[in-house]
């Protein structure tokens, strides 16, 4: 099912949470809303779910306007950041809740509800735990119960607010893969909010990067990482060092080195340039480029990480081949090989 929002505006008392947001989510897509806290991503998710209502703009599911529809009629599955499990109900009753509140005519029989709960417990890999209370489960188990509860009513759209935020790193990685599998197996259209770019880039089909109530870019993880559309995205995604630069005829001048701009064309004049760790080459001192001193060299990954200090005291990470010759204390020159520049 497509989810389309257009020109959404939402103001809270003294700030604008959404400032004209439009987004089209394709059927079957797994889309991440990524941004720093306060960028409006959770507000957008809540408006799609019908928990908040916009001051202006439209929300449509499969081409049908649902803007005036209450949360209970939208038939979306919503997984809350703190899971919001009903603490006085056992796990099985939590999962069955959406079925037991249906109008009498549409409500499945007790036996059918029990069958469905058992199916879902098996799906979320918690068979036999239906009799527990939420307080007796681990964080990862609660998260899966919350998902089972949301899936019980057969939603076509699944909304997840920071689904892995409260979990430790190991559990988080396992759950990511598993959630992706559930999404595909059930043919859902899913939108999840995260502030963790690794999570968004690793899991999503497309990533919508948000800042200050606006969407900066909606693209595949590959494009968002390698071809950031704006200075914000270039700065926010991945590890990049920021430089002031001059733009002239599509050529960027950074620290005396002139390079072609790989970012969308920008007007001539002053700009900001972003360079990633693997986009520097190390050269001997005195060559054209940025003078730096090596502080530390670590050979702990597939490539060596060389920590350099620039003349102005800034620390720059440079990714180099494992056989790099640099040693701590050595004076070197950093030569940018690829630069993305945006108007300042």
């Amino acid at each position: 099912m497509t989810v389309a929002v257009a020109n959404l505006v939402k103001r809270f008392r003294d700030h604008t949470a959404l400032d004209g947001v439009s987004l089209d989510v394709r059927p079957g897509e797994f889309l991440a809303l990524l941004g720093p806290s306060g960028s409006g991503k959770t507000t957008l998710l809540r408006i799609i779910g019908g928990l908040d209502f916009p001051d202006a703009g439209t929300v449509a599911f499969a081409g049908r306007d649902v803007g005036a529809m209450a949360a209970r009629d939208r038939k979306v599955g919503f997984v809350f950041q703190n899971y919001a499990l009903f603490r006085h109900m056992r796990v099985a009753d939590n999962i069955a809740f959406g079925l037991t509140v249906k109008p009498r005519g549409q409500r499945p029989t007790g036996a059918a509800i029990k069958r469905r709960v058992d199916e879902l417990l098996a799906l979320v890999q918690l068979p036999g735990l239906g009799g527990r209370f939420p307080a007796q489960l681990s964080g990862g188990q609660r998260q899966r119960v919350a998902l089972a509860r949301a899936l019980a009513v057969d939603p076509q759209v699944l909304l997840l607010d920071e689904p892995f935020g409260a979990l430790d790193a190991k559990v988080r990685n396992d759950l990511r893969r598993w959630l992706r599998g559930v999404h595909e197996a059930m043919g859902l259209t899913s939108i999840f909010v995260t502030h963790d770019q690794d999570e968004a880039l690793d899991l999503a089909d497309r990533v919508a990067v948000m800042s200050d109530g606006r969407i900066e870019q909606v693209d595949t993880p590959d494009a968002v990482y390698n071809r950031p559309a704006t200075a914000f995205v270039a700065d926010f995604i991945g590890n990049a060092t920021r430089f002031d630069c001059r733009l002239a005829d599509g050529v960027i001048e950074v620290a005396g080195v002139r390079l072609a701009n790989t970012a969308p064309a920008a007007a001539d004049g002053r700009g900001v340039a972003f360079i990633r760790p693997h986009e520097f080459a190390l050269a001997s001192a005195g060559e054209p480029g940025l003078a730096a001193t090596v502080r530390r060299v670590a050979h702990t990954a597939a490539r060596a990480s060389v920590e350099c200090v620039l003349a102005d005291g800034r620390v720059v990470d440079v990714s180099a081949p494992l056989d790099v010759a640099a040693a701590a204390g050595e004076a070197v020159t950093l030569v940018p090989t690829t630069v993305r520049a945006y108007p300042a």
Partner: protein, 277 residues
């Protein structure tokens, strides 16, 4: 093995101070009430308790509590639900208004009703024409009691519901529950212990209220005297044994509510622990 750094004598001193304070301020007066009531033997005690005016006062007190407490449960639930689950203009104002009966002297609360509904009051002439009696009659006593006791349930629930947040209710709504289903199956179970505690406090105050009720009652024996007013009359007539006997009834009602609360907590203790409260 010692687990605390405090010396033994300090711990004993603190425990003795706490128990001593409780003994002097709570246990001793309570014992004195019962001792005074039984000073002239069980027969005199019985006579004071079954005397028609005492029975009428008892009936009136229970009637007033039976009306005021349910009203304040409904009001308290509605107000705390509105205040904690929704945002609306005038919310801060409503919170201060709920506190008003606690900050106003009960005598003033009673006087308000005399000024509104008394013979010389704002609605007095109209009420007299239609032969409706509010002040110096049961309706006035009920109104004054409702006014004085209305913060108790709401004040118990608002902090609890604020702490629990709105996400449980939002989850229920997104799962398709109606407002009533959400309230009955999610909100109410989450707040039931706070609600019970608020109801007990409200009930104790409703049965024990003196000041506001005293102003609007008119002190007509057998008709508009509640237990606290009846006790005062007996006491002023130097009828100490009867005063203490009726006081022991009132104290007995308080003890019954206390025991009821403990029994409920004990009976459902597992559910509280299992539910993570």
């Amino acid at each position: 093995m010692k687990t605390t750094a405090e010396p033994g004598w300090l711990r004993w001193l603190l425990i003795a101070a706490a128990l001593g304070f409780l003994g002097i301020n709570l246990a001793l007066p309570l014992a004195q009430v019962f001792a005074g009531a039984l000073a002239k033997g069980i027969a005199v005690y019985r006579a004071a308790v079954v005397e028609p005016d005492a029975v009428a006062a008892m009936r009136l007190t229970l009637t007033v509590a039976a009306i005021a407490v349910p009203l304040n449960i409904v009001f308290g639930l509605a107000a705390s639900w509105a205040i904690t689950k929704f945002d609306f203009p005038g919310k801060a104002m409503l919170i201060s208004l709920i506190d008003l009966p606690l900050s106003v002297s009960p005598v003033v609360s009673g006087l308000i009703y005399v000024l509104l509904f008394g013979l010389q009051g704002w609605a007095g002439p109209w009420l007299r024409e239609h032969d409706i009696r509010i002040v110096f009659a049961v309706p006035g006593i009920v109104l004054a009691t409702v006014f004085v006791t209305f913060p108790f349930v709401a004040r118990e629930l608002i902090p609890l519901m604020l702490e629990q947040g709105r996400s449980d209710e939002e989850a229920a709504r997104s799962l398709g529950a109606t407002g009533w289903q959400t309230f009955r199956r999610v909100t109410l179970p989450n707040i039931r212990w706070g609600l019970l505690y608020g109801v007990l406090l409200c009930n104790a105050r409703a049965m024990g209220e003196f000041g506001a009720v005293s102003v609007v009652s008119g002190h007509i024996r057998g008709l508009t005297n509640t237990l606290p007013l009846h006790i005062e009359i007996l006491y002023n007539e130097y009828n100490y044994v009867a005063a203490f006997a009726v006081a022991s009834l009132l104290a007995g009602l308080a003890l019954v509510t206390l025991v009821a609360k403990s029994v409920l907590e004990w009976r459902f203790g597992d559910a509280i622990a299992g539910g993570g409260h």
